[in-house]
């Protein structure tokens, strides 16, 4: 290695760079895909273990041991099987939790230790657009997480306990999954930029756990008619709208929110969270 060869390499033979916003954005997406591919096994395990265990216990073990929990709405074959209820719920909860975590965990590292966010903040892209890129990348992971959960919730069940899925409206399913992924990723960006990194463990206890338990994963929103106050309180939970949208697309025979209700919250909520998240992200990146 000599200074001359370094100088020649530094300046002489390099091909001309032609950066555009689109090229830079997609190069960053390609980087995300490369990182995702490298961590495919751990990502797959993180996404799939919880829903698999859940359907295994509630759609296979409990019916086998004779628990009444196998049927929703009273058992005895009168209501939909619990596995049917779980399909949209577990797909939706996977999308939301993965969307949030896919932004927060890397972001905490990037914004604190060594501030490695500098690497991408110096790329020729406006910083708010870098925030949007983070949302899109995390939404991609959330979407894939939703897809990964499908086989588990569709095929793991005891005999006679299979879910009853009727997809008449594929565009609606895709729309809810895509917008739900973006909503959760935008929420993750906002949380990741406003929460104290040293208290990030509180994310599970105070946000993800209540969001999942009260996110209409295990029952439809309409079933809470008898607990009206809780039904109203859960309207603050974005996961409810993802799950109700998926319920409308996957199990339309089960009572669900109307499209105008979940659709408007998903779209407007995504826009609002993305706006707020990119603002707080920009404030954290630029000092």
């Amino acid at each position: 290695m000599t200074a001359t060869t370094q100088a020649a390499a530094a300046a002489g033979a390099a091909p001309a760079a032609r950066p555009t916003l689109a090229r830079t954005f997609w190069a960053m997406m390609a980087r995300e895909v490369r990182v995702l591919r490298k961590s495919a096994i751990s990502s797959f395990a993180r996404v799939i273990v919880q829903p698999v265990l859940f359907v295994f216990v509630f759609a296979y073990v409990l019916p086998k041991v004779g628990s009444a929990g196998a049927m929703f709405g009273g058992g005895g074959g009168r209501g939909p099987s619990f596995s049917t209820i779980l399909v949209p719920g577990l797909v939706g909860s996977s999308i939301v939790t993965q969307g949030i975590m896919a932004v927060i965990f890397p972001l905490v590292m990037e914004l604190t230790w060594q501030r490695s966010i500098t690497d991408r903040a110096l790329a020729p892209l406006p910083v708010p657009l870098l925030g949007v890129q983070k949302i899109v990348a995390a939404a991609l992971q959330a979407f894939l997480a939703g897809l990964l959960v499908f086989p588990a919730v569709l095929f793991i069940h005891a005999s006679g306990q299979g879910p009853s899925i009727h997809i008449h409206n594929w565009p609606l399913l895709v729309l809810v999954m895509v917008v739900g992924s973006l909503l959760s990723a935008a929420g993750g960006l906002l949380l990741g930029t406003v929460m104290n990194p040293q208290k990030m463990q509180m994310l599970f206890a105070l946000i993800l756990l209540p969001m999942s338990m009260l996110g209409c994963v295990y029952y439809p929103w309409a079933a809470m008619d008898h607990v009206r106050w809780l039904q109203i309180v859960t309207l603050l939970n974005p996961m409810v709208y993802v799950n109700e949208g998926l319920r409308a697309a996957l199990t339309p025979q089960i009572e669900h929110m109307p499209f105008w209700a979940y659709g408007s919250v998903l779209v407007l909520g995504t826009a609002a969270l993305a706006w707020a998240g990119t603002r707080t992200f920009t404030k954290r990146v630029l000092t």
């Binding site: 001359t4 390499a9 300046a11 950066p19 980087r31 500098t118």
Partner: protein, 325 residues
């Protein structure tokens, strides 16, 4: 996206006018930079020299668009850092003080994706990455992650990364901080090679010898202000031309020292408690006179030092305090 027209002479790589940065905080915040004016010519190796906390990194942060100025203006290759940050980022390379390599990617991928961020095709980016790893002696580390690299290797990789897209201005923020002396000297060779090829380089450092060894021109910075700027010989020939003799007595400085003030060959005599500091261009015999003045008054000498003209004496002359205080 079309390029905006540069607003400055093509010979000017960096220009700042009254640049300010105040970080929010109690009592009016922290005034990190208080009106810095700089001009760096294309092809120049320019150094910002100052102790820790002088405002060097904040200045570099503003020039690289990562820190938002609270006053004044700054442009890089004619583009305003606030109005055209993307245009500025397209034309600069930056080596931070910290290791900001992408830890999820290996050495090769760090360069490959940096090239792609800057508009190279995937094939060109990979070719460019191979070329730089080879030239900087990192080819054997191509699949290593940043965690697996030594400080010197990581720093060289960061320089490679900053050069992938052939930046017009290369910013280096304390590039040798924390490196062992041998690695530091090796890195100097790398930087000299780049300079020889015409690369404009702006470097911050708190190592006097680094600024002296590398830079065409130096701005001495302290408390967010430029105290003096020029070539190293110019600085030594003006503010730092004096040899500085410092004597610390066992007791208060004896009165006999005062007569040194009357001599024409003595520039300045500063007395502070038990310490006297004499600035002179004819240092021969002065130290002996100071010791003799103490002996005549029955006061012993506990410490004595004589600093030849250097950037350190420039700093002492300009600020009246030791560089590493």
């Amino acid at each position: 996206m079309s390029d905006a027209s540069p607003q400055a002479s093509p010979d000017t790589a960096v220009r700042t006018t009254g640049l300010h940065k105040t970080y929010p905080g109690p009592n009016g915040g922290v005034k990190a930079v208080q009106g810095i004016d700089l001009e760096v010519a294309a092809g120049e190796f320019f150094g910002l020299l100052g102790p820790n906390g002088a405002g060097k990194s904040t200045t570099i942060g503003m020039l690289t668009t990562l820190v938002v100025p609270t006053g004044g203006r700054a442009s890089v290759v004619g583009f305003d850092v606030v109005k055209d940050p993307v245009q500025v980022k397209r034309r600069i390379g930056m080596v931070s003080q910290n290791n900001t390599l992408d830890n999820d990617l290996n050495a090769f991928e760090n360069l490959e994706f940096r090239g792609r961020y800057f508009g190279l095709s995937a094939r060109d980016a990979r070719r460019r990455a191979e070329e730089l790893l080879e030239a900087f002696g990192l080819a054997e580390r191509r699949t290593g992650t940043p965690f697996e690299m030594s400080g010197g290797q990581a720093k060289r990789l960061m320089i490679c990364r900053a050069l992938v897209h052939r930046p017009e201005v290369l910013f280096l923020d304390e590039p040798t901080a924390g490196l062992d002396p041998q690695t530091r000297v090796n890195l100097w060779e790398v930087l000299r090679g780049l300079q020889a090829d015409g690369q404009t380089i702006v470097l911050t450092t708190h190592y006097m010898e680094e600024a002296e060894a590398l830079c065409d021109r130096v701005a001495v910075v302290d408390h967010g202000r430029v105290l003096a700027s020029g070539t190293v010989p110019e600085l030594k020939g003006s503010a730092g031309a004096d040899t500085v003799i410092t004597v610390t007595y066992d007791e208060d400085v004896p009165d006999g020292v005062a007569k040194l003030r009357e001599r024409e060959d003595i520039g300045r005599v500063e007395v502070s408690g038990r310490q006297v500091r004499v600035f002179t261009r004819t240092p021969d015999g002065v130290l002996g006179e100071l010791v003799a003045a103490g002996a005549a008054a029955g006061v012993g000498v506990s410490d004595a030092a004589q600093l030849r003209p250097s950037l350190e004496t420039v700093f002492l002359t300009l600020t009246g305090r030791d560089y590493r205080e």
